[in-house]
Symmetry: C2
Subunit: 433 residues, 2 copies
């Protein structure tokens, strides 16, 4: 049995019963078996001992909306309108992607996320077995789904859906349960209603959750009204989408009725503030969603629209923007923003009993932050410091499922230098083709 004993650490647990622990944590194999102020008694035999002095430990961050392969397009197109960026820049380049490109783009995203403290991520894209293998190798935790766009022939629609189902079946529960799967129509505006209904039926058949993009831009909401006579929330609801556990990304443009319906249906939101700002999509009504009881988690979206995968950035932006835009400086206090990146993230992917907090019996997914730096001084309110002053670059060590996957800032299971070099080569290949 692998045992790890962290001594003299400061633990921001995200567990309301003991939010801050200055003391000890013991991990046995993939689980936390002890956390408390007193030293564990008896002392865990044969444990690897880590001196936690100068480190703050907290749950690994959960990124609930990403498109990892698109990291290959970071910086390729910025400061353009959503539809121009998507249709004129992203789609033509993505159309050229081959398996090799997908592999290195995915690997680049995974090392960036791990090094910046994200231990679990949701990813919607294609060529998903390639990503699943990277996730398996990296030690990371992922909820993966083959997103399907239905603007194609019925035969192609069927082929894509079969591919998505096959992936969801093949990989659900793999890698010691670190990989789970979902099904995903890309968006209401890229999937005809009957296709969405088929995907919903398949999700029931496979007993997996659903993920989609929804109400990211005002134009898209208007198009939904024009095409189907309803706004996207009601539209998806009528198609039975919310009869499955559902995670929807963006949800920027919602009216009060839609918020109430999302709350009633138990739909979780992936709020992507940096991407929404950068693409000028707007500012989601997060304080209203939280007040209504909706689970709001955080996502980076892709590195092509952000342009980084540091979830600490999303946490800080979420804590700042809703104050500034609402005029209420008490909106989204620091602890609530941190919850969005941890416990609420875990809820949004139906794993709150396993991850998102440091608690006896839960999975040992956690990170250690080097707080011996000027921007963490004086050491007053640790949660405030993490949210308003912290960064993924402050992450020193990362463990997932009890295994150390980042040690002193370096990925232990993936070759960072090779991945950066190959990603560069792949990008230059895309430009040349």
């Amino acid at each position: 049995m692998n045992r790890l004993w962290i001594e003299n650490g400061t633990f921001v647990t995200m567990d309301d019963n003991q939010p801050l622990v200055r003391g000890h944590m013991v991990v046995e194999n993939d689980r936390i078996t002890y956390i408390g102020e007193a030293a564990p008694s008896p002392a865990p035999e044969g444990a690897e001992r880590i001196n936690g002095r100068g480190l703050v430990f907290m749950p690994g961050l959960i990124n609930t909306h990403a498109h990892s392969a698109m990291s290959l397009l970071r910086g390729y197109s910025d400061d353009e309108a959503l539809q121009v960026w998507l249709q004129d820049k992203m789609w033509p380049m993505e159309g050229k992607f081959n398996d090799d490109d997908a592999h290195w783009g995915n690997a680049l995203a995974v090392i960036e996320m791990l090094k910046s403290g994200t231990t679990t991520f949701v990813d919607m894209y294609d060529r998903m077995p390639i990503l699943a293998k990277v996730v398996e190798q990296s030690g990371m935790r992922g909820v993966l789904t083959r997103g399907v766009i239905g603007l194609c022939s019925p035969a192609e629609q069927t082929a894509k859906l079969e591919e998505a189902k096959q992936f969801a079946k093949d990989w659900n529960g793999q890698a010691n349960g670190r990989i789970r799967t979902m099904l995903s129509p890309h968006a209401p505006y890229t999937c005809p209603p009957d296709y969405i209904e088929r995907i919903v039926a398949a999700a029931h058949e496979l007993n997996v959750p659903l993920h989609t993009h929804m109400s990211e831009s005002a134009a898209e909401v208007q198009q939904n009204v024009n095409d189907y006579g309803t706004r996207p929330v009601e539209h998806l609801d009528k198609l039975g989408f919310f009869s499955r556990p559902s995670l929807v990304a963006h949800a920027v443009h919602l009216n009060d009725e839609e918020i109430a319906l999302l709350a009633e249906r138990g739909v979780a939101i992936s709020h992507n503030p940096a991407s929404n700002l950068k693409l000028a999509s707007g500012v989601a009504r997060v304080p209203d969603l939280l007040r209504a009881g909706v689970t709001v988690s955080l996502g980076t979206d892709s590195a092509a629209s952000n342009n980084n995968l540091d979830l600490f950035d999303e946490i800080r932006i979420a804590a700042l923007i809703h104050k500034g835009v609402s005029g209420d400086p008490t909106a989204i206090p620091a602890i609530e923003a941190l919850r969005m990146g941890t416990v609420y993230g875990a809820r949004a992917i139906w794993q709150a009993d396993e991850i998102g907090a440091l608690k006896t019996g839960m999975k040992a997914d956690f990170i250690a932050i080097n707080t011996e730096q000027p921007h963490f001084y004086p050491q007053t309110d640790i949660v405030s410091h993490l949210v308003y002053s912290g960064s993924g670059r402050d992450v020193q060590h990362v463990w997932v499922d009890g295994r150390q996957v980042v040690k002193s800032g370096v990925c232990t299971l993936l070759d960072e230098e090779q991945i950066m070099a190959e990603a560069q080569r792949a990008f230059e290949g895309l430009l040349a083709r």
Copy 2:
């Protein structure tokens, strides 16, 4: 003569004549004497040679609004309304500050700024000789001003103004010209009109610029209208404020006429987006200000309202927020945000002929960023990467006035460990008193 020769570097110069140089830069004493793609010829004799591979060099960042000593209050009070935060939390604690507190708060801010790539900062506070000595020792460049609050007896007003004048006289041009000074009424709402007029007269007498807080919150603008029958811009203009070179912080709440007047008077703005969001002050009309020809620079404000002094954060937030709030994804493109943190910052403090760009003849204030990290890959648009993906933690080396003040992430002229420990002690002392 001290000579430095950087070979094989990538230089983001912020000089429109050659924005991107892949090549060489030579520094002699405090000045850049060569920058170009070809190796310098003849080779600079006896130069310290630096291999620039894997590094991006750019001008040091310019933070045009800070209150360094307040770093001691980082995390002491968050998520409160501006007036509550200021009057109930900050002022009582600041009232307890002694020279020792000011020293360690200032030193803490200076090491945080230097390590994150800021080479020049504007600071308005009291006990300014203490800060000036820290700046002198640190090797940093500063524009320092004793901010005065006039809500006190005439005798106290006079004493404060004399202190401010004395400081401005004593320190202007000190530390090889690295320190310059200004005069500063704290704000129109904390200084009676006749006191502002006396400060303006003193600025003329000493030939120094003026700095103040202006139109940070809507409430403050309304109070100005109630008290004086005019909005703050017209009020200050009538008091002769803009007859001096002027830098105003915040300027969140402006109407079209005020923007036109600021442009006409050549007033520079210090835009503090993180602080304005955190205190729910609102979002400044930066795209409109830039269109009107106003110089807009960036400031962190204090670590008590931000809560970090990483100017890369302000650059990214400035690039993101104005897109999201205006609905225009082309608002504040990456390069414009980077200008706000460099060349526009230099303009805002009337030093654009000396700093803010890498150019032959200019002061050697520059930073080196480690781009051999996943979040900078693939290496496509460097400016986009710096703005949307960069962080102060990526800064590896910093030079000011040709002298290396940060080497491999560590301050060379200040003792970081001592400063963090003493800042902690000072904060705990404040709590105990």
